[in-house]
Symmetry: C2
DNA sequence: AACTATAATTGAACATCGTTCAAAAAAGCC
DNA sequence: GGCTTTTTTGAACGATGTTCAATTATAGTT
């Protein structure tokens, strides 16, 4: 057919993103198809390919929005300056987000960006912003000049927590009697902090 | 066409598994399709559905084999009874396995078994067997009657390590300057052990 | 106002996927 | 040899992501 002046490029982009989000949240990741998004916004599949190179890019932008939502949720908690309290608070909010938007979270971490193409900078920046909250909580434990070590520990903690949430989500933690992921994650935080305080040289660098 | 007496049911099963393994290892997970497996063993796609309910089941059995391979690799290392040494040794062998069979490892952890249907018992037992190696390494740190806590810590450690390997595999750990996953995982083990020793009550239960 | 050039939109088409199932044929049995 | 049983097939179905010639509304020009 032809050009329609119903919406601008940006409007269609936003509509597509909103539709993708709604589809994932309500019907799960598998329901997110080029055709389903196109149908939801009243355009044809081909139109999407004027705005996105492919479905991967739609998911990438969706995950970007999810990271923003997550950050917004995590940043409201007051920073009290006590690592254990701050981290457990972060953990609580993180798990709450995970419960509120399980499907969005799944796409965020399960979706594999093709290895050959590099992630765009703006995406890594959104990740770094969330990571920064963990770093801030850990700051009191490190001398000022140890930013590198601080960043490393933050990433270790982040990855470790992700592992617990990920395996719990897949139902793989309940091999033989299970404890809630919440408890395990809390234990992990406490253990790591205890380890940090007890043996500061455990992370040499 | 018709029945061929070329192979028994079991033989076809084994051939299919071997083919699936070869395909995943050489061409990656995406190349594992019903048609590719069928073609590799010289049968038609339909034949596979006499042996497996669906592709999920093929992947499940493939993962079972991978767990066996992993266990065989991890179990050969001598158990010396010093948790840090034993765990770091396990970690080393685990990472070596991961480097040798990256695609098999990806399928093992990325593949989502449908949530509605329960995993078969034999599969969980294979997982528990690997987990048992971590438990054994941790044993000296816990009094005899604390098996539950031992099991919990082992699962925490396992999940945390998985998180690091998983994010590293996806290239998501290198947000801002990166360290090798190997180093981060080693740090995690040391930190957790230090935390365990320093604060045994950190995991109340 | 008419005409042209530009750009957006379409939807059929292609190759692929998992899965099904009526038909076909080989093996076992009497 | 004929009959039954069981295995195997491959075409068929409904999906998927992606492409692209064709179509048509808009913008610009005369």
């Amino acid at each position: 057919m032809a050009r329609r002046s119903d919406h601008t490029r940006e409007q269609i982009f936003d509509m597509a993103m909103a539709a993708a989000e709604r589809i994932v949240e309500t019907e799960g990741y598998r329901a997110l198809t080029a055709r389903s998004v196109a149908h939801a916004i009243g355009y044809s599949p081909g139109t999407l390919y004027n705005l996105f190179a492919n479905l991967d890019e739609i998911v990438l932008h969706l995950n970007g929005r999810t990271l923003d939502r997550l950050y917004d949720r995590l940043v409201v908690a007051p920073y009290v300056g006590r690592p254990e309290a701050d981290l457990l608070r972060l953990l609580d909010d993180y798990l709450a987000f995970l419960e509120d938007h399980p499907h969005l979270w799944q796409v965020l971490f399960d979706y594999k960006w093709p290895k050959d193409r590099p992630r765009p900078l703006w995406y890594d920046q959104k990740v770094a912003r969330v990571l920064g909250l963990i770093e801030r909580s850990l700051t009191p434990l490190f001398p000022r000049q140890d930013e590198h070590r601080l960043a490393d520990v933050a990433r270790i903690l982040w990855a470790a927590l992700h592992g617990i949430c990920s395996l719990a989500d897949m139902g793989r933690l309940d091999v033989v009697s299970a404890r809630p992921a919440r408890d395990m994650a809390g234990d992990l935080v406490r253990l790591l902090l205890a380890g940090l305080v007890a043996e500061p040289a455990a992370v040499p660098r």
